[in-house]
Symmetry: C2
Subunit: 137 residues, 2 copies
DNA sequence: TACTCTATTTAGATTAAATCTAAATTTAGA
DNA sequence: TCTAAATTTAGATTTAATCTAAATAGAGTA
């Protein structure tokens, strides 16, 4: 429903050379609006009310495409699902093994590498795992 | 078959307060012997010839137990499977999105954090993704 | 040794995240 | 409008990982 998020999504899609279909706009805008780090399935369910006919495959396809294009980031933790992050500034994440929540962690000395031992680096992920503030008690 | 690896595995299990059953010793020794970063299923298949009756569940249970105990590390990449690493020194990994191989990356300024924004940090993972040396060409 | 309780392992069924497939729909260009 | 390419859809399929219930192995006691 957030028009601003949809406009921003549309712009980002165009800039990434991805046709801004209604479904893609809604997937990306929906990711913007959730300040958590939703999984593909969580997004699919969240989208259900706004885009009743959207299919799971479209959500997965769109998210994977946008990761490839560098528009969003994928997050791989000890949890079963892949999560997605719309924020492009480099930062780390903390994964709570108990409540499964993911927290943003400001990343120090963020020297982004483009090559490493001869390998071409396209992205990097720093993930901490443990017990979050809430679950420690 | 490697007796030395089995002895080392047995010692590590005892130190971690885990009963060193034949199967657990073989799983850990098998992980030592593979210089790659095998998935649970790859280990299961590799073990097949030495421990014909070992079950998938035992391999998964053992690996998960050892991750919990801090004896080994789990690796979460853009690939579907979880991989495992027997090396305990902190280091990063590079995941090739084409050939799916995982390379060790020496990790600079390895200041291991134990707390972060109030969260209790138990482990950390640094994973780079891209095209490896071989696949770039 | 015999008995009991607990820990571990096993084979196969089950779950669930993610992908695949083939048909339907939408879009862009002639 | 017509055609070809791109996108979406619903549901089937795949597969990594977990779960279940029974079998086996180990430890402690008499």
């Amino acid at each position: 429903m957030n028009k601003a998020a949809q406009l921003e999504a549309s712009e980002l899609l165009k800039n990434a050379d991805v046709y801004p279909s209604y479904q893609r706009i809604m997937v990306l805008a929906s990711l913007f609006e959730s300040d958590e780090h939703p999984s593909a399935d969580a997004l699919f369910k969240q989208l259900g009310s706004n885009v009743p006919t959207i299919s799971r495959a479209t959500v997965y396809n769109t998210l994977n495409l946008l990761v490839d294009k560098g528009v969003i980031r994928s997050l791989h933790t000890a949890g079963a699902e892949t999560h997605f992050d719309s924020v492009s500034e480099t930062h780390g994440h903390f994964f709570c093994r108990k409540c499964k929540k993911i927290y943003d962690i400001p990343q120090q000395n963020t020297e982004v590498k483009h090559e490493l031992d001869g390998h071409l680096v396209e992205s990097q992920e720093l993930v901490f795992t443990g017990l979050c503030k809430e679950c420690r008690e």
